[in-house]
Symmetry: D2
Subunit: 281 residues, 4 copies
């Protein structure tokens, strides 16, 4: 499906500064970027970065003047995600696991899977099929954690959310990831644009590594799984910030949108009777 995304960010630079932005749509076999533009006003040169083996598409903006700048990103993306089948998904064997996914198996800043080991295994340890485990923990989060704007901050972690039971998409994703890892299922953070998300904003959800695929899950259930435009993945929000600011910078305003360029959008949510997954890999 073709989707158009827009992001508009305004910063007031009070000193020479560096901004690292991560708002570009990812280019993957399942997500073709048909058109895109990034405009900074007033004009400032920027540099595309890639960090190590990650595919995330970062932009580095270096500024030397005190001024207000407006950054506008626009892209048209063809999102032809892959459907995966997990009917006979087998337990993950660490002995066979692809080494590239190991970093997503260990605790990270916001996903302290080691502290959630008993909790995860008591609640979901008896389920045999790992896909069904992730489905069950996603449902548990959805039923037990209240989506409540302003209830958390940048320090909130999965360890808090599992008890305080309130949060936003970032917190839902961190808890999902931490529970997966506590069950020895690699999991990573996913940021994106989401059609049908109200109010419109950047969205966060997560991917679990099942059957050698990164399968998308969203414990908020606020957006259809096939409505997303993927921006980045990482171990948690510390790896995939929309913006990292270095210098004396005042954040002024942000506007985000994601609209469908085709009719007949059929929203996809998972259904325990089908055991299908969606992958944006």
């Amino acid at each position: 499906m073709k989707l158009e995304v827009n992001a508009n960010l305004i910063y007031n630079l009070l000193s020479p500064s560096t901004i690292i932005l991560n708002i570009h749509a990812l280019r993957t076999p399942q997500q073709r970027v048909l058109e895109e533009t990034l405009v900074i006003e007033p004009y400032i040169k920027f540099e595309e970065l890639t960090i190590d083996q990650s595919e995330n598409r970062l932009i580095r903006i270096e500024t030397f003047k005190e001024e207000e700048i407006t950054i506008t990103y626009k892209a048209i993306v063809d999102n032809c995600f892959k459907e995966t089948d997990h009917t006979n998904e087998e337990e993950i064997s660490i002995g066979q696991l692809d080494t590239a996914v190991f970093p997503y198996l260990y605790p990270s800043r916001y996903c302290q899977s080691d502290k959630l080991f008993r909790f995860a295994n008591n609640k979901f340890g008896k389920i045999k099929n790992p896909y069904l485990q992730v489905l069950a923990l996603t449902d548990w989060i959805h039923s037990n954690v209240e989506y409540l704007s302003g209830s958390t901050n940048s320090q909130t972690s999965a360890y808090d959310t599992v008890t305080e039971l309130a949060g936003v998409c970032r917190d839902f994703a961190h808890l999902g990831i931490a529970l997966c890892r506590a069950l020895t299922i690699p999991a990573r953070y996913f940021t994106g644009y989401a059609y049908k998300l109200y109010p419109q904003d950047f969205h966060a959800c997560f991917e679990a590594y099942l059957g050698n695929e990164w399968v998308l899950f969203d414990a908020t259930k606020l957006a259809p799984l096939n409505s997303l435009v993927k921006i980045a993945t990482g171990r948690d929000a510390a790896d995939t910030a929309i913006a990292n600011l270095f210098g004396n910078i005042e954040f002024k305003e942000m506007n985000v949108s994601c609209t469908a360029l085709e009719e007949n959008f059929q929203p996809v949510f998972y259904d325990a009777s089908q055991l299908k997954g969606l992958s944006y890999q």
Copy 2:
């Protein structure tokens, strides 16, 4: 200098298990591995892993029987570290920073640099030369944190150590890293064998990215900087565990040693009057 290292680990496997070991000496231009052997008794096949772009040399051991196993690693290493000069070290410019080091600039599980921002900048922010900043924070840790076996556990983070002021090499390293990152200096965790460390054990210290080199620092000052045999680097201890165990495994015993094969070892510690660094890169 030529050093011989030995590690001997005994595990009692109570179920089919997977062990990921990270005890091999790293191979770098500054650290040549002249000889090495890894023996598992009784015999079990093992597999060498590398994870993504990291050079860390991991071993995966997959077991199917309940038995006690003994893992013995031995290596002879020629450690010809590089000396670096930081007399005119300039403040790090994020705008020019090598993208490969970005992951070492952000907070991680045990190094919550975002929460130490004011602390680090109040104490060390006025020092201009970044090498002197790291030297100063290393000295501060050494003077203020008591080395006390058993005072911390696997959950202890830099945020705890900065206040509780007691810990072991792991905690000293985490605090050093967190303070560097809070000063916008990339820093990473370093595990190794250390000659002249008593009692003999694996050692942990840290590297700061200065002048496009990873320069070694050790806030414990327990081992000369030129006595180390590097095993691995990562964002913090979560990335560089000596062993990750999957299965029902009982840890029985560990012995580690590091001895010099040459006479006339001249221990190196930093000296604020010289502004020299050591790099094992």
Copy 3:
């Protein structure tokens, strides 16, 4: 029922010191102390303290020499606890609540009831009878938290235990108290000797304020509710330490025992079909 309790503590005093001990059996209408002796060897004078309006019986020992001391407490107690009926227990009205119990309604050091508000109300909020609420949360703790010696330390709080799901009697009690307070039921920490507790040690459980009585609950279910000899109550373990040590003191050894002086002991545990409580008030 008549019970004999013994406590034997050995300390090595390395400097002039003060020890505040709280090991004396409480004197209440439901617990008569028939005989008791406290002996310190070598002889040191001690002073009985009471702190404010609390009935806890503290001892202050002031020492001036470096020496090893042995403190031996022995008492015979007649424990004729009150049985309370909660069949028609009504929801607590803050508007009518006895002001003396207010301190037990607020969060304390180890019982962060404010952070457990959603958790407690989601799980137990629909139960109408407050006695049944406390019974349900006690059962939940018993079923979900593993009793595991050495799994926690003096910093562990209810906020940790609700997620980490392992602990000792102290942790079970803190979690019980925090959940009660989150449900607007006053609750307090209870330390005592316990007959039929193996291995013999000091025990901790908690009291909830129901129908104007302090009713005993024990989420560990390790000792019959009628086997206890009450020592002290407080907001949490910070108020009711067995010993507070001021000075350079080495703890050497502790032995505790509690034996019945009567035959035909009928252990009492609660039974959801009866809605009876036990009060040592």
Copy 4:
């Protein structure tokens, strides 16, 4: 000095509710309440409470209707604080300490003195006179912690503030208390009205127990020490909330003022050369 204080609070009651208010000026030998009125509009009966041995003057308001209520408190107070001399203040002897102050010696919810033991003793342990210790730690907080509205929340504790180094009066007080207790100096939280505080609001500071007096300290240095009208004391903010709300209540607005009814106000701040204290006991 005569001071007039006013507090005006507006709540929107969305259900039958109970409000426990603690805004009345305390009556002590050093603080005479010459006149006072409390008006609730529309009229609701209220009850004066005292909790245990505390002198704090609480009000319980029980409501049965959904309505908006306005609570207005006004008092004229004659504040004739006592001046205390600490020139020859001796180290506190736990062996002689008044038992009534013991609760203020132990860690509490927001004042984890046990975790600050090394920090406090490293920094202030060598100072002999306890008054000078408290003066030094107050100055340290004032110099190192930035007063920054909105930087903290109701979960922030002394353990956070000592590292994050930003906060409001509540956080300054908690850190002061925790450091005192870590030095074995009893300390308690103090809430009040403050003349010369801009913007006008309730204020929090702390008292340390020195020479058998509760001596006032304020690490914010935002208000002269002799400009306060004391409301309450407790172990920390958990004991002395301005309002505890039970029910579905929306906080609408609050206005506080404190004005002098006499001319020639001479502001008092401590001066290390004089070793004088102020007590509102």
